[in-house]
């Protein structure tokens, strides 16, 4: 049944990819489809590329784990395109630069800045790609019991073959096709779920009861080592052996399976909200740090401002024929993404009611795929599971395709300029390296790592693009220092947070989600350093040119 779902997606991707081969001739064909893509087709491709595993599975999973406040994530993901439309889409396209590093050099005339930007592209694309491949493995493990590495290798092979054969020309059609596919595979099962669960569950989902006691004997397979706060003494079956747990902290080892008896009190986990509890129902993000408003704002800043700095998204705007078409593309994308994300809430709320035990196992990323089986144990449930798996796999493929292109572009176009053949080879090699990174990274949280990629993009490329387009005073040195500070205060601070593991509180919040201070810091540094320099003579004309409609 699962092969039945995944194989058509991979085959269609390959076929549509192959269709682009005939048209492929030069390096710029490979990167931007020779700029002959209409706004609507391109918007569908942008949306198809953007809706990744984090959107298809991760957001609903975060709702199960952290509560309704997690619904702010997709709001930020969508708002990112509004900000892109307002601030960068048209002028950015008019620079004619193929990639962000290309923009850096075109606007500021510094080859060194271009190479530094290319390094930032590698950081962002790496942070974004590894969790996509990891998620592919997770979902395949869940639905078919295949080993984790099979999913990762299948995803890596399909993506890199498509890229190497067809490049962006293929990717435009592939991505647009995959957007329609993902939209259907997300909406149709959502509607079926709402109908199939029945009135009782629907009412329960809107007035969830706190998940305090196990309503039946419940088997929990812990994905990672998990610290449980046991509130009442309980005897669990750990691998079939009864183990008595006294109140207090206990660590469940990763991949262990414990069976909790009916009626036992549900243990708590630090940093997550018990499904149905007041914290869970509260519409702000609370990661257990006690500052829900700051946490919500931080996520919104990272996602809304980070979108315009994502290298695979920016390169896609260059397939529009001119600035005006690029702007229309961004506007249409806001609508397309909205029509997808409004259905996230269905999976999140039903997951909270029907699969609350995922809160304990930590496998919340699988909530979307696991729901149909819980609602209907028969063929219908299996069919919808297969459909959602296909959609999730389409999400991995589409996003990975764009990211690999950006990564290969940064390597082959900006760091070591080369021929088409070298670019194809780079894409293949990059896919191989990412697969190698993803194989041992079973333990990462897909949603968290993807958001960190947004934070890095918001703290580096966003200030460079916005200031470069709207302020003539930006200098190459200012952009360089500002991006370096942004990189250190986002990626550096998050790495510090992972190593230091501070106690829950304001410090933990700021180390884990640094966008709230790293983005303003990068902007201010860029402005302060630039003001000490004198912008080159042509800077004003170079900036103003970007605001002039190229057809006049």
């Amino acid at each position: 049944m699962i092969a039945f779902a995944v194989v058509p997606v991979v085959l269609a991707t390959l076929l549509i990819g192959a269709r682009g081969v005939a048209a492929l001739r030069s390096t710029s064909d490979f990167l931007v489809a020779s700029r002959r893509v209409s706004p609507t087709l391109n918007a569908a491709a942008v949306a198809g590329e953007y809706l990744s595993a984090a959107s298809f599975l991760g957001t609903a999973g975060l709702v199960v784990k952290n509560g309704v406040g997690a619904l702010w994530y997709p709001v930020g993901f969508t708002a990112g395109y509004l900000l892109m439309l307002v601030l960068v889409a048209a002028p950015m396209r008019r620079t004619g630069a193929l990639t962000v590093p290309d923009f850096a050099e075109a606007r500021l005339g510094s080859a060194g800045l271009r190479r530094f930007s290319a390094v930032v592209v590698l950081v962002i694309a790496g942070l974004y790609l590894v969790p996509q491949f990891t998620a592919a493995g997770q979902v395949l493990t869940l639905v078919s019991g295949t080993p984790h590495w099979v999913g990762i290798v299948v995803a890596g092979a399909a993506v890199s073959v498509t890229l190497a054969l067809g490049g962006m020309r293929a990717a435009t059609y592939v991505q647009a096709f995959q957007f329609v596919l993902k939209l259907l595979l997300f909406i149709v099962p959502a509607i079926w779920l709402v109908v199939a669960v029945g009135a009782g569950t629907r009412a329960e989902a809107l007035r969830p009861a706190e998940y305090t006691a196990f309503p039946r004997a419940t088997e929990v397979t812990f994905r990672l080592d998990t610290r449980l706060q046991v509130r009442e003494p309980v005897t669990v079956l750990a691998g079939g052996v009864p183990v008595r747990l006294d109140p207090g902290e206990h660590v469940a080892p990763g991949e262990a399976t414990w069976v909790f008896p009916e009626g036992a009190a549900v243990p708590e986990i630090a940093g997550a909200a018990l499904p149905g509890s007041d914290t869970w129902q509260h519409p702000l993000l609370d990661g257990g740090n006690g500052h829900p408003l700051l946490a919500t704002w931080s996520i919104l800043v990272a996602t809304a401002l980070g979108t315009m700095g994502l290298p695979h998204v920016i390169v896609r705007f260059h397939t529009s024929p001119d600035g005006r078409a690029a702007r229309r593309t961004a506007a249409i994308t806001v609508g397309l993404l909205g029509s997808f994300y409004v259905f996230t809430v269905v999976y999140g709320l039903l997951g909270g009611v029907l699969l609350p035990e995922l809160y304990l196992s930590g496998a919340t990323d699988t909530a979307v795929v696991a729901l149909p089986g819980r609602v209907d144990g028969g063929t219908t449930g299996a069919v919808f599971t297969a459909l959602l798996t296909a959609g999730a796999f389409a999400a991995f493929l589409a996003t990975s395709l764009g990211l690999l292109l950006a990564l290969a572009g940064a390597l082959a176009h900006d760091l070591l300029p080369g021929s088409l053949r070298r670019l194809r080879l780079t894409a293949l090699l990059a896919a191989g390296v990412i697969v190698l990174f993803a194989l041992p990274a079973v333990r990462i949280d897909v949603g968290a790592v993807v958001t960190s990629a947004f934070a890095v993009a918001a703290s580096t490329f966003c200030p460079m693009l916005v200031l470069g387009i709207w302020w003539r005073g930006l200098t190459a040195r200012g952009a360089f220092v500002g991006m370096a500070v942004g990189l250190a205060s986002s990626a550096g601070v998050m790495a510090l947070g992972l190593l230091a593991r501070p106690d829950p509180g304001l410090v933990a919040l700021l180390l884990g989600q640094p966008a709230l201070f790293s983005v303003p810091l990068a902007f201010l540094t860029m402005i302060a350093v630039s003001r000490r320099d004198r912008p080159p003579a042509g800077a004003e004309a170079a900036m103003l040119r970007l605001h002039l409609d190229e057809r006049t």
């Binding site: 309704v68 709001v75 307002v86 704002w297 702007r327 609508g335 709207w470 170079a542």
Partner: protein
């Protein structure tokens, strides 16, 4: 699908950058004084338009969480908590509307500079 004409894909600025690397100069035609003045005027107007859209977006993204932080979950519209509607559904039409508004005004500014000069 008819075969479309394929075009060279580098902008003037990228050509300069790429040519400079080969030691060749390919400086683009510089804008005339009139064009520069028109561009400066367009940029100023676009900045004003952008500022108003950004203010509206900030109201949604910064203001709505503040509001939702204080409204109790038990305020319901039928069986559905109002705050859930406000985070799960409401933002999307608002964002799409803002995008449409911004697009219309930005395109009008760009295309209609001559006509609108009197304003």
């Amino acid at each position: 699908m008819s075969r479309q004409r394929r075009v060279a894909v580098t902008s003037p600025q990228t050509r300069v950058a790429l040519a400079a690397r080969r030691g060749v100069s390919a400086v683009p035609r510089s804008l005339t004084g009139d064009e520069l003045r028109a561009a400066a005027r367009i940029r100023r107007r676009q900045l004003r338009i952008a500022a108003s859209t950004l203010a509206a977006a900030a109201l949604l993204l910064v203001g709505l969480p503040v509001l939702l932080g204080v409204v109790p979950v038990d305020v319901r519209l039928g069986p559905v908590p109002v705050v859930w509607i406000a985070v799960a559904l409401l933002p999307y039409p608002v964002l799409a509307g803002l995008a449409h508004w911004q697009l219309l005004r930005a395109e009008r500014t760009e295309g209609g500079t001559e006509r609108d000069r009197g304003r």
